[in-house]
Symmetry: D3
Subunit: 236 residues, 6 copies
Amino acid sequence: MRPSGRKLDEMRAISIETGVTKHAEGSCLIRCGDTHVLCTATIEDKAPSFLKGTGLGWVTAEYGMLPRATNTRNRREAAAGKQSGRTQEIQRLIGRALRAGVDRVALGERQIVVDCDVIQADGGTRCAAITGGWVALRLAVNKLLKAGVVTSDPIVDHVAAVSCGIYAGQPIADLDYAEDSEAGTDGNFILTGRGRLIEVQMSAEGATFSRDEMGRLLDLAEAGIARLVEAQKAAI
Amino acid sequence: MRPSGRKLDEMRAISIETGVTKHAEGSCLIRCGDTHVLCTATIEDKAPSFLKGTGLGWVTAEYGMLPRATNTRNRREAAAGKQSGRTQEIQRLIGRALRAGVDRVALGERQIVVDCDVIQADGGTRCAAITGGWVALRLAVNKLLKAGVVTSDPIVDHVAAVSCGIYAGQPIADLDYAEDSEAGTDGNFILTGRGRLIEVQMSAEGATFSRDEMGRLLDLAEAGIARLVEAQKAAI
Amino acid sequence: MRPSGRKLDEMRAISIETGVTKHAEGSCLIRCGDTHVLCTATIEDKAPSFLKGTGLGWVTAEYGMLPRATNTRNRREAAAGKQSGRTQEIQRLIGRALRAGVDRVALGERQIVVDCDVIQADGGTRCAAITGGWVALRLAVNKLLKAGVVTSDPIVDHVAAVSCGIYAGQPIADLDYAEDSEAGTDGNFILTGRGRLIEVQMSAEGATFSRDEMGRLLDLAEAGIARLVEAQKAAI
Amino acid sequence: MRPSGRKLDEMRAISIETGVTKHAEGSCLIRCGDTHVLCTATIEDKAPSFLKGTGLGWVTAEYGMLPRATNTRNRREAAAGKQSGRTQEIQRLIGRALRAGVDRVALGERQIVVDCDVIQADGGTRCAAITGGWVALRLAVNKLLKAGVVTSDPIVDHVAAVSCGIYAGQPIADLDYAEDSEAGTDGNFILTGRGRLIEVQMSAEGATFSRDEMGRLLDLAEAGIARLVEAQKAAI
Amino acid sequence: MRPSGRKLDEMRAISIETGVTKHAEGSCLIRCGDTHVLCTATIEDKAPSFLKGTGLGWVTAEYGMLPRATNTRNRREAAAGKQSGRTQEIQRLIGRALRAGVDRVALGERQIVVDCDVIQADGGTRCAAITGGWVALRLAVNKLLKAGVVTSDPIVDHVAAVSCGIYAGQPIADLDYAEDSEAGTDGNFILTGRGRLIEVQMSAEGATFSRDEMGRLLDLAEAGIARLVEAQKAAI
Amino acid sequence: MRPSGRKLDEMRAISIETGVTKHAEGSCLIRCGDTHVLCTATIEDKAPSFLKGTGLGWVTAEYGMLPRATNTRNRREAAAGKQSGRTQEIQRLIGRALRAGVDRVALGERQIVVDCDVIQADGGTRCAAITGGWVALRLAVNKLLKAGVVTSDPIVDHVAAVSCGIYAGQPIADLDYAEDSEAGTDGNFILTGRGRLIEVQMSAEGATFSRDEMGRLLDLAEAGIARLVEAQKAAI
């Protein structure tokens, strides 16, 4: 009944390949079905100026999409001269999500920039970026720990994300592009490895929803996140 | 126990004054405590180009804040040369929320632009913008109905929004700025007049949250929205 | 004979309401007929860098117009990505005018930013902004005096502005939008409370003018400014 | 007593060389003392879109300054990514002034763009641009008349401009940079060949002024403009 | 003697993997040593407006680099709000090079956009982009031929590029980043499959060069290009 | 056989007038036939920040074209809000070329900015800018030497540039616009006074070229540069 032929709660095949670029302190290529996102983490010795002298660190994210990552070519944002509202909204979300899993005192007054660039898109790019971005972040932090620059682990838990939605009246997990386009309601769920909620964003796209439906999507999300966290563990 | 001295579920005083500018097809000044937002609705004969020939209408929103609406002056976005990511995120949210209450077939191939400009800010500006923006929209649509340009009412239900959060471990409704700055978790809830959910955005700001806490915030939101919808009814 | 029905030298009804926002050091909402401008003054501890070490203060202004302040909606300048030439010209004028009434030595090395945002426009917005901006500035300076931060009053005189023009061959005072659109010549006159000239800008819009006509417009302006200064005195 | 050693009413040496670029329909290099401005007029077959179908023509102007036209190098506006408020204000003024001397019905539905680029600056660049820009415009219109494209002369009169100011308490004509920097009040006067006023812009720069002083500056301006108009006549 | 340990005329290992994204009409990932560039070709039904009605096609290119493709992170151009001069120069070069191998009459009035995004950089990215871009172009054109949209092959020859330079007084082929940073002279050579020259760009970086040195670099380039063309043939 | 009627190896008339603006430390107006470029050199006490503390100087260039320097008017880049890719490419080339003739240790930690503004264009503007820019640079450096600020001459040799191309199958020197538009291959050659190569840029525009043709263009360029260097010597 799903365009993808998957069962209602079936996630797409997940693959996380680490160490994919030689320059970044941490990197991975995450594939959630046909959605492929290259994530790199860069350690910077200075925290942003608003944190100067506080001893607190910062994690931020930037998001981009190659022009032909999608079915029809999108205009390159660098050529357009600005990032779209959608891009800014997504990269703010990724940064917020990753920070929720970090002890900023333990990190110390430095910044880690996580770049998430979509190589190929098929729905759920922001969720893949969060799940993969966490792996890149984890690997970069490992370098800090190994080098003794940081002594107590600033990563407090896994962070992963999945989108779930109501498609043809049924709650389904891990929407691909075809499913996302048709879903009446759709949500992004970001959770920790222990199942605590970091961010929930549910939105009616055509049909409003009930508290009950909200609960059923959360059920799917919790199960899906567990799978993603396993994949993260296997990768690092 | 709240900085504002309000009870946990107590909303701020709401006032909605309509017809505040002589030019706009619909307008109101909404005051939620010390948060004051001027909302205007402009009817445009043409829908955006991506709807050409579809017969469908569109509702969109723009959001702004006067430089000294806040405690310290913010740089004017027009002078900075771009809208911030925050501004774009908010205006996309307002537009999405209002469209969820509109029958775009009944509206016909035209556009209504809702401008929400914050005159004075004290937390919850996006929620006030949605609640007040709906009133401006309602008044503009009334003009279309009265003029016979539109024959079936395109407004299918009220749309209103409130922010709720966890403050010092307790769920509280309708956060002002002081409460919002300290809240561990905070969420924006957009509902219809009949209590259906349009958008839920919950975000951990310092502390992750549980499904149970999520439910208690939803309870507060449902009660608060009912109050806001009453105020909308009284205004129009 | 005037579209507004006013006598040739009749000013519009003036109202100046102070203390309209809780955050700004000085604020007012000035209404000249249907032209409504919200003015706020912000005190900043630092003067612009070109004054560093001079002991001199600075007063500057920014001007904006809500998108639907006018009969048809204007594109939001923040969305367009820049301030129009008209906006820049107006805000430079307001700043220059207000500085002419300030003793910058007495002000000391700090800056006051006056924001003038047009809520509703019906001609003469720059003049209303100057007249109202002066009130906001006066109130902010009062705070500095009261706090003892500044000991000698940096405000040397009132500053107010009015537009006058030649309509259907006759000199008229305080043009509204309908009159302004049809005027052959139109001018903005900025004077001090004692009647000294700060700025005169007269421009042929369709018909050139003579020295004699210039004199008659100045006569009207002097009378009008006296009325505006009275309103300023009443407000503070 | 003037830094330049000139008498109070003495203009700088004026030279207007025409035909200085082979491509433009009209061109001249105007030299007012050490202020040198290259003016070109370009005829475009189409009027701006807001005039479509009206039969009316348009004259517009753009103003620029080479980075090292001044004593210290200014940042190139193309590199800065925008025209300054000053540049926009000046080019709007030049366009308005030139249009005041044109019969837009006789011109027909086409546009003439006058580019004024300051090669070397020593005060009064906007006035030189207007005086020289009129010559370039005149020459371009001559081509239209010669070619029979336009049958009735759209140029109704000369347009020229001069700056005058109060320096050390004395009214002086045609300020150079050193005088302009020290002047307490300074004004730009744009007149027709017959001595009608097109635009008067007087501004207090440090000292307010009286109606009497205003009159004395106008006297100087009328005499100066007569000299400039003679130079225009000699050039064409 | 080379930092890379390669012989003077030794090229880096070349690998060209095709079909790397499911959406693009043609795509490849080219690896020249540690320089990895993802190239996609997009077919657009319309040619640019300056070709309207001419029957001629167009090939253009865009170039980008992921922020962490390099040893230290570069600011994302989309966030900076513009493409650097370097980026623009490179993408203009790629487009010009690819067009030199295309019969634009045979292509017909359509456009092919080749996007070259550097995933990992180690010198010679523009050359790798040209060599890989040609493969993506070739594959996209094959689709047009297969579909019968184009009947005569618009690709007239291979196009490939290599950089050569003078390092420590010796001519060397296919510079990596370490070599490029130290080279006194360095050049980019773009040739066809038959060895005709398309573009030669040689530049003294520290030391000027002689005609004889120029000849020796061209010898290296011809041999290197032959190797690249073999790799192209193997890939398609 | 050339549109210009010149012999294959005949250069255009060259004139270099120095001291054309009173403000710049060095300046000239170079005329190569109908291509006229105004070049100024500005000495700045500070080097760019990337050189701080190195003791090395810097020479950079900016390039611009007046809107009506060409046959049809180009949009002013300052109004368009950015410099085109072509402009950036040219100014990077000019800067690189001039630096190749400068001993940056001898210059000391300061910057010289060379502005090249095209007053009238008829092909070869970037070459004229380099040849004239060198003269402005030479004159500015002479001031530094005369003032004793710099003790050893940082100018190590002349730098001049010429374009040559293949027109109707024949190699020709110093292309004007008409020739450039029709040339199948065209190249820019930058050489020192002693005939060493600084930069060679050859590009197939319609027809690829052979090594032999490349050699014949270089022969023409060497002869042409010798003429330009003579003109430089005569000017300074």
